[in-house]
Subunit: 772 residues, 2 copies
């Protein structure tokens, strides 16, 4: 299989309206409502939203997303309403039924996938914009487990794979335990090899080692990719993966020896059945060991197939980034949904107005404050969207190379860089999305507090993204560790002359320790060269800090200023982080773990933020300068430019105290100039804002928010939602509790301190019950 | 009625352990669990948590809160569990039943209330820590409506008041309309006086004027304090309040002419029945007009009883602050709950450890990052708590004076100052609480995503506080307008010599405009003197900006540094805001509305933040220096000092770019010094953190979070919660959907662009249905 490069770059081959008939365009991008509260802004816009949509999504993606959205909209099984109130059990059932229906549709056939594997991401995001529980359930059942099997299993597991693809089996992934998430070495679940029966015996030694949080395990999975310490004769060969049958596919009842349950209500994603499992002398055949990298022979000897361990680590790191890259793209999808609601509502909602004409009320989007609250998130949505598309292409190229079994140093190096970028991109996008949703919730005022606004559901569902696939704060450490490690290597190279490729000259145990931990490839480019280009500017790290400065009065409203400022910022934070770590190493007497912990807040954390923001801007700048087709209209270029600069300046603004501290800024001019420019950009974006969201808004059926529909007829939709709730106009069933059975006011004695003693024992019992 | 001043200061008269027997102390503050995961930290603490609790809450409040908590805990009607899943209707029913039961307990008898009216706030916060829907439902039914009736009604409304107190009637408050919240002048509901029948005819002219969001209206209220434009012969006499019978108390059915419904599912507070109402030629007796300040005589003439309008406005502004002061105190209560969960979990959860000893895992609270994420919010909880107590005392004194009918210029001035402080305190506390909850949610990792963590419910319930009683961003404008107005007056006084009390010398229309709008009292102190002391330092506004500076190397770890820095900051932001407003006034050709809108983001918003942070620190400093009893142990003083300094430095850190811009900081020293000190404080607070939350934690029954119970036995509680969900171990009812009825993979045709045309009409119909 070879990936057609021109197809991979589908976002670069933007569509053109001119290539299509009016009918085709209408089919692809149906007209938006006329004569509605949003029309004045649509008429005001400097460009046609369809041109922008074609540039951002491209024809192929637009059509593919249309297929998904329209298929769901046309199928009665997918009908719903913004005021729907389902119990957890009802959510589970409808999600399961929809999962089955999706298998019948096969929305992304193999031939299309092979032509453009990036459509997978579009599939799960489009499903997620409809409902994240459904998207996650299908992803976990179909992609995650099969990828694990393909990656870690071997030919003997193909039968299970086939069962999953035909819905005879459903998979889940069981790594996390009750008392351990990130620290895999401390996992307690064990698999002891019984040489007599050629079986593994699975056991959960204590309740803290119960497998938890496994999506699909609660009610539906028949097989669990289970991670356990592999023991032979009480010798631990490390954490290994097994494909463990947990439920009988004919009855969906657990097998004896497997205790499985449903984790119950969560903050969000309640259509997905997260489960827990423990094992009690549960025997499985030796063949269930996923044995691509290590196996047990019949006499019980452990055989590893891993050669070239260092390169392997780099490649594994890259591969493990899949989930994080996925969260980046989920975040963009959620930002699109939320910002559509926030901006359309703000353009339709009117409140107060100038004294000069008291009869006219302003749409709240006219207020500078509202613009400043929302537009930076709008710009972040665009900039992250472009970044996500470009990073996905890199990631996919990497995956294809891995699939072909390449294991070169340069691939390992790319794997590392992907890991470092993903570990910073996932937190920043997860948090930006969290803040976008919250700002939109608050910007919609009281009506934003209605469940029918959908902003509560978005917040609850998105919330998990900041935790799974690595807690954001923990992940950011990986990025700063990578940068510091690179720097240590770079310094040691400089010390030893650039020709010394093995870096043997390190006299410093500490930096060796860091290198062992992080820099896995003995490559020939020990400086800051990188295949994705994320760190090349650090070859000038010292000069960046010494020479780059803001000049009073300079024009900040351009990408060059932003990129240059970030080059200073990342370089400065890197040097400060290295100093801080060195200092903490001395204090902790060389304990790298302690030293790292104590150098996170200042400056490693900021380093990770600044690094990824710089890279995001770098990619966006490339998109503007190199990837836009020549005939993209000027007005579109201008809007995209404004999105980039607003996001860049707004992000830089959060670092300004460091820029002052580092001497890049001096005096009041820089700060004022940036903030003035941010407000000017808001003012310029205002007339275009509605059309900018029109270009990325999902269709009304998918959006499912009374505040965000394309016609902006907010009051009618709210009114309809209010009046169509379950039992809106019905008297409560318990009305006689008010009319017939009046309380005897002040008739009962509260429990006071003095009569508490007597109740002590009762209370404790009740308290126990209350705690469960 | 006279308020005993010593009682009002109950937080100053802190309790002493020495005044009580061991048994009494145990009764008041029962021992915490021994030999549990939190014990090591409890043993490490530098102080006894009970001493701290007595200082923060005082004996009276501890006992009063115990009464409420223990009464609820002992009553089967209030039992619940962290994994409870109720439908909206079930939540409504149980909340109503509990409301009735609370009437039977009468937890705050009149004599206690009269002795210490501040207990009201304690009552609603304690109930809220149990369940905010219940607290809000009782507050709206009992306090809000009766206060309105007492404030705006007259003797002819006493009968309705009596009915409410005996549960023959339930009230609600109906101001907000579908299309108007803040802009009361634009309200559409009208009441036309019919002189023939001596009745008002209520009408809702269009659906946008439907009254919405009224708590208790959805299912339970019999009377609504309804705001409508009062018309006599088509002449509008302005928005007036009516106490409107809406449901028959004998049947709970609405009266003909009243259309009432339930607003349906909300993001949170679903135990409370928010409702909507519209009127159609609904006639009510003239006597239902709440006629304290204006009335209609029998011939239809409107008579106002308001004299001294300017003073009245200031007093009204103060009185209207009640809701905002309440939200400040709700926020503190929620911060207490959330931070207890976050810190206890962090002290119990272990993950990874130093390389020097791989067998030991660190509690995550040992990580600098975790401390830095949580401890500033812990310190904010303490500092805001003290501020809230002190501001409540001011507010209560003000209310008492108003109750006695005082209407002096100085009372009007105090009313204004209370309004300005409340309009900044409500946003900052609401947002700090929002961020505390979110940080705790994320700091608890995956397990924080369980509904049984209670952090989701806290977030959802708290969310409303950032919107009602005035959107946070809109409210902050009131504060900056007040400060700018004061400054304009101060400048004009200086121009005219300080003796000119009438300020007639204003040659500037613009500042006159501002003055008219804001500075309502013609007092004798036109400078920055103030009764609460929030703005006195602004008498030196120019000198503050010119002379105050940070000196390299100075000790930042003290309150004096923090207060001085804030004096600079507020002064600088005030001058910048005035400049900006002047500039915008020129651009908008004198339209104050437009000019204000365009000067909000920079710098008015920051001004409002800095102003309230300074005042909070000022009060905290007073608490430390003047209000702590002599025999408060040194260790307690030290902890409280650290809380204050950490909050102060952490808050200042967010303003550092402005401090650089304004020239207060210069060079790298200031920024680094503050950040280093923040981390040092975190390290110092760490061994005490568990005991610091023990002093403010609600009892386990109230906390209701498996991650936050006092014994820190997190895994046992999570495990118990997981295994006691509804149907944890049961097979899903729809299991045959998997076993019997397999999907025919890829058997259905998705809707593609080419076959979309045919479906167009169907789709549109379905879309309409989906939107409701």
């Amino acid at each position: 299989m070879d990936i057609d490069n021109s197809l991979l770059k589908f976002t670069i081959r933007q569509g053109r309206k001119s290539e299509h008939s009016v009918e085709e365009i209408e089919q692809m991008m149906p007209s938006l409502p006329l004569n509605c509260p949003l029309s004045p802004y649509r008429q005001m816009a400097s460009f046609d939203w369809r041109d922008l949509k074609l540039v951002i999504e491209g024809e192929q993606v637009i059509k593919f997303r249309n297929r998904i959205f329209r298929t769901l909209e046309n199928d009665p099984l997918f009908q719903r309403s913004p005021v729907e109130e389902l119990t957890r059990e009802q959510k589970r059932e409808i999600t399961f039924k929809r999962l089955k229906r999706l298998m019948e549709y096969n929305l992304l056939p193999d031939d299309e996938f092979i032509q453009n594997p990036l459509l997978t991401q579009q599939l799960y995001n489009a499903l997620g914009q409809y409902d994240w529980s459904l998207s996650a359930k299908q992803f976990l059942a179909r992609e995650f487990v099969t990828i694990s099997l393909r990656g870690a299993g071997s030919s003997r597991h193909l039968a299970i794979l086939d069962q999953m693809l035909s819905f005879e089996a459903i998979g889940c992934f069981a790594l996390t335990e009750l008392s351990h998430g990130s620290n895999t070495k401390a996992m307690g679940t064990r698999a002891d090899f019984d040489v007599n029966t050629q079986e593994f015996i699975l056991n959960t030694p204590n309740f803290e080692s119960t497998k938890v949080w496994s999506g699909n395990m609660g009610q539906t999975a028949t097989h669990a990719v289970t991670f356990a310490q592999l023991y032979v004769n009480d010798r631990n060969h490390g954490l290994s993966a097994f494909i463990v049958p947990i439920r009988d596919p004919k009855t969906l009842l657990p097998y004896p020896g497997v205790i499985i349950g449903d984790m119950g209500p969560k903050i969000g994603l309640n259509g997905l059945d997260n489960g827990f499992a423990s094992f009690k002398n549960y025997r499985i055949s030796k063949s269930y060991l996923m044995n691509r990298t290590g196996d047990i022979d019949s006499s019980g000897d452990y055989v590893t197939t891993i050669k070239d361990k260092k390169h392997r680590t780099g490649i594994t790191l890259g591969t493990l980034s899949m989930g994080r890259v996925g969260i980046l793209s989920i975040s963009v999808a959620n930002m699109r949904t939320a910002i559509t609601i926030g901006i359309r509502y703000s353009a339709a909602r009117r409140q107060f107005g100038p004294r000069s004409n008291p009869t006219i009320e302003w749409p709240v989007i006219e207020y500078q404050m509202q613009q400043w609250r929302l537009f930076p998130y709008l710009s972040a949505t665009y900039v992250l969207d472009i970044f996500c598309q470009s990073f996905l292409r890199d990631f996919l190229n990497f995956q294809v190379a891995v699939l072909f079994g390449t294991s070169s140093p340069s691939l390992a190096e790319l794997g590392q860089e992907i890991h470092a970028v993903a570990c910073a991109a996932k937190p920043i996008s997860g948090w930006l999305c969290r803040d976008t949703i919250q700002e939109c919730r608050e910007a919609c005022g009281g009506h934003g507090y209605l469940a029918a606004s959908r902003l509560g559901e978005l917040r609850d569902d998105h919330d998990a993204n900041n935790t799974y696939e690595g807690d954001n704060n923990v992940l950011q450490m990986q990025t700063s560790n990578f940068l510091i490690g690179k720097y240590q290597k770079y310094i040691s190279e400089q010390r030893n002359g650039n020709g010394n490729v093995n870096g043997n000259g390190n006299g410093n145990d500490v930096s060796n320790d860091i290198l062992d931990d992080l820099i896995v490839a003995d490559n020939n480019n020990n400086d800051f060269k990188s295949q994705m280009g994320s760190i090349e500017f650090l070859n000038d790290v010292d000069n960046n800090v010494k020479q780059l400065r803001y000049t009073n009065g300079e024009d900040v409203c351009n990408m060059d200023f932003i990129l240059r400022t970030y080059r200073f910022l990342v370089s400065y934070l890197l040097l400060r982080s290295v100093d801080k770590l060195d200092c903490e190493l001395k204090i902790s007497m060389g304990d790298l773990f302690v030293a790292r912990s104590n150098s996170q807040v200042y400056y490693c954390r900021s380093l990770s933020f600044a690094f990824i923001e710089h890279f995001i801007m770098l990619r966006y700048s490339k998109f503007l300068n190199e990837e836009l087709a020549d005939d993209v209209p000027m007005a579109i270029r201008q809007v995209l430019q404004r999105m980039g600069i607003l996001y860049g300046l707004w992000s830089l603004d959060a670092h300004s105290s460091i820029l002052y501290e580092g001497g890049y800024y001096d005096g009041h001019d820089a700060n004022r100039s940036i903030r003035t420019t941010i407000l000017q950009l808001c003012e310029l974006i205002k007339p275009d804002a509605v059309s900018i969201v029109d270009a990325i808004a999902p269709p009304d059926f998918i959006l499912n928010s009374v505040l965000g529909y394309a016609d902006g007829d907010i009051y009618r939709h709210i009114y309809q939602a209010m009046t169509m709730n379950t039992k809106t106009f019905e008297r409560a069933e318990w009305w006689r509790d008010f009319t017939n059975d009046k309380p005897a006011v002040a008739s009962l004695e509260p429990i006071d301190n003095n009569n508490h003693q007597n109740e002590n024992i009762d209370q404790q019992q009740q308290q126990q019950q209350a705690k469960l």
